[in-house]
Symmetry: C2
Subunit: 354 residues, 2 copies
DNA sequence: TTGAAAGCGCTAACAA
DNA sequence: TTGTTAGCGCTTTCAA
């Protein structure tokens, strides 16, 4: 690649100002288009002499192949559509990194689309991406509109739904059980001796995985005869500021709180900073936990209790499934359920209480 | 869109297991392929009756057009290639949001590629993306390999280089002057009365914009007869932890430090947390500043002095240029230089010193 | 090892 | 308003 484009001299055919084609390389090298094509794709047997001639000509012209024509002729597109809610949520860049890492060793290339957590947008993005006939699809979540599901069922390509394992996949799935994660966290909190537990999180309907964590959480609480003492939901991206505000509100409403479970690390950390500002002993007086295991926040005054959502692993596993199934009409319903790791950090240790 | 895919019943031609084509819709509706194409693209005059028939047929079949064929035939691809170093750096998702916001009102769609700050990777990604013949290119930075520049010069599409305005663009550019930003910050620090100023940042060769800020910074310092007292550079993504470590190191080496300028907000914030842990009065004893104006960090104990890098604006401006120039062979060298806003926050106020 | 012919699925241009 | 014809630039297939 690097060499191929090295001595580019004429980008466009100078006379007609149109992109170069195989025919131009063919003429410049005195070799048939077909053979030029073979050389440029390292296909079939081509004599060393012709190969050299062709490469030289392509290099000098600055020829860049037209993948559109290639894809149409070969009925193969080496793109993997990746559809995520947003890139502002740090979780997804990490998933993408996992995907990229694996696909780098293949001819496949990821192409990212964003839905902003809106089902109609997902539908549109999906339609748009499928119309480029990608070799595979990786899409966040198991909840989609009926139209989206229909498109996916009919796409005839391997599809991996990621992040979540609580539900039915159209084809393959790679994720964690958020319901179980919620249960585990509740158990850990209860085991530590906390009793007056509050919850703060995203407005549920928008984020199915946060909702499932909350459901699992309350379920375990109920089993222990407990109920959430107070809860607050918010709109918009998660932030430290939001966490501070919500923690303040909750404490005003329910001063008896001794634990706050946050639906993600960022608002959890915001809550922690607020409590510490107020001189409240964390975790002795009030404990805290979040979700995601964001390494970004590692340098905060205290390490927040959280659960690692296996983001890069999810990306890697999904990409591996796609890479294996590339060319096939489905991924044969492969299913990978990962285990998030509970990290107690320094904000979930009731035993330390004086 | 939403409706079109609503009653999908047969994704693939059942007999041959191949994707549906215009011909299938044509046969199902008893209308010529050409007219079907017109309906599906809302082009030309089609009677309401035929239009209804066609839409009905397409809907029932679950037809998804093949953009590859469409693009080849029409010589138009409604994609805008966007090439950024990484999505882990929060700066770039924000730029992307700005781009998306503008392109949403156009037929254009962004497609993102990542370079990991590696020039060779940039070359590869560029080659890959250009071979899909996008309608425009938005690429971060002004520094590229000779091969990359050649490809861009020859691409025959509008190209906007973003983030930086210190240098020459191939076509259009939208950015801020990082050198000037560095100078301004130095001036603000000096004006506040700080004298023993240190710098911590990324290893320079990898990040041209950070390097330029540093250069501008030392330049202004020199004018005031000052030199950087101590400096430290690191590899890898920025993080709070790195900021803490570097601040600790620097203070050990140069206890006389009364200010630390960090090449980005995250390590700046890390440094701030460290100083506060140590019981050091910020900004009275030691001041701090970062760069980027990341809103993510807003909830930290003190608001870090920083400069807003106009990320979303850059994305919006770049996308606007591309949208206007779509179809043309260049963006006619449009140049937009934005003014980053200095935010003193609570860590650059020497006057407060006791 | 090389080349010639046919056509991928769609749209531009023109004709009816 | 609708249909016909001829490609877009490449790869597949088959023949030389």
């Amino acid at each position: 690649m690097s060499q191929r484009a090295c001595h580019v001299t004429k980008p466009f055919d100078d006379k007609n100002h149109r992109p170069l084609t195989l025919r131009d390389v063919s003429e410049a090298s005195g070799v048939s288009e077909m053979t030029v094509s073979r050389v440029l794709r390292n296909r079939g047997d081509v004599s060393e002499a012709t190969r050299a001639k062709v490469i030289e000509a392509a290099k000098n012209l600055g020829y860049v192949p037209n993948k559109i024509a290639g894809a149409l002729a070969s009925q193969r597109v080496n793109l993997v559509a990746v559809i995520v809610p947003s890139l502002g949520n740090l979780v997804f860049p990490e998933v993408l990194n996992g995907i990229t890492e694996i696909l780098d060793d293949s001819p496949l290339q990821p192409v990212v689309g964003m839905t902003n957590y809106e089902p109609e947008r997902e539908e549109k993005v999906l339609y748009e991406m499928l119309s480029w006939r990608p070799s595979g699809l990786i899409i966040a979540g198991l909840e989609h509109t009926e139209a989206s599901r229909a498109m996916m069922r009919n796409a005839g390509i391997p599809i991996v739904e990621i992040m979540d394992s609580d539900g039915d996949a159209i084809d393959a799935m790679v994720g964690i059980s958020h319901r179980r994660a919620g249960r585990q966290m509740a158990q850990a909190i209860i085991d530590a001796g906390y009793k007056n537990i509050g919850f703060m999180g995203t407005k549920l309907p928008l984020d199915h995985r946060a909702r499932k964590r909350f459901e699992g959480f309350t379920e375990s609480m109920a089993k222990a005869g407990l109920e959430v003492v107070d809860q607050e939901f918010y709109d918009g991206g998660s932030s430290l500021v939001k966490g501070r505000e919500m923690a303040a509100d909750m404490l005003k409403r329910a001063p008896e709180l001794d634990f706050i479970y946050a639906s993600n690390d960022l608002i959890g950390a915001g809550g922690m900073l607020y409590l510490m500002d107020q001189g409240i002993d964390v975790p002795g007086q009030i404990g805290l936990a979040g979700f995601n295991g964001l390494r970004l926040l590692d340098g905060l005054p205290k390490k927040l209790a959280t659960m690692d959502a296996c983001r890069a692993d999810i990306g890697r596993e999904a990409a591996t499934i796609i890479a294996k199934a590339a060319g096939a009409h489905s991924a044969d319903g492969a299913k990978v359920v990962l285990e998030p790791k509970l990290q107690l950090g320094e904000t979930l240790k009731r035993a330390l209480r004086r």
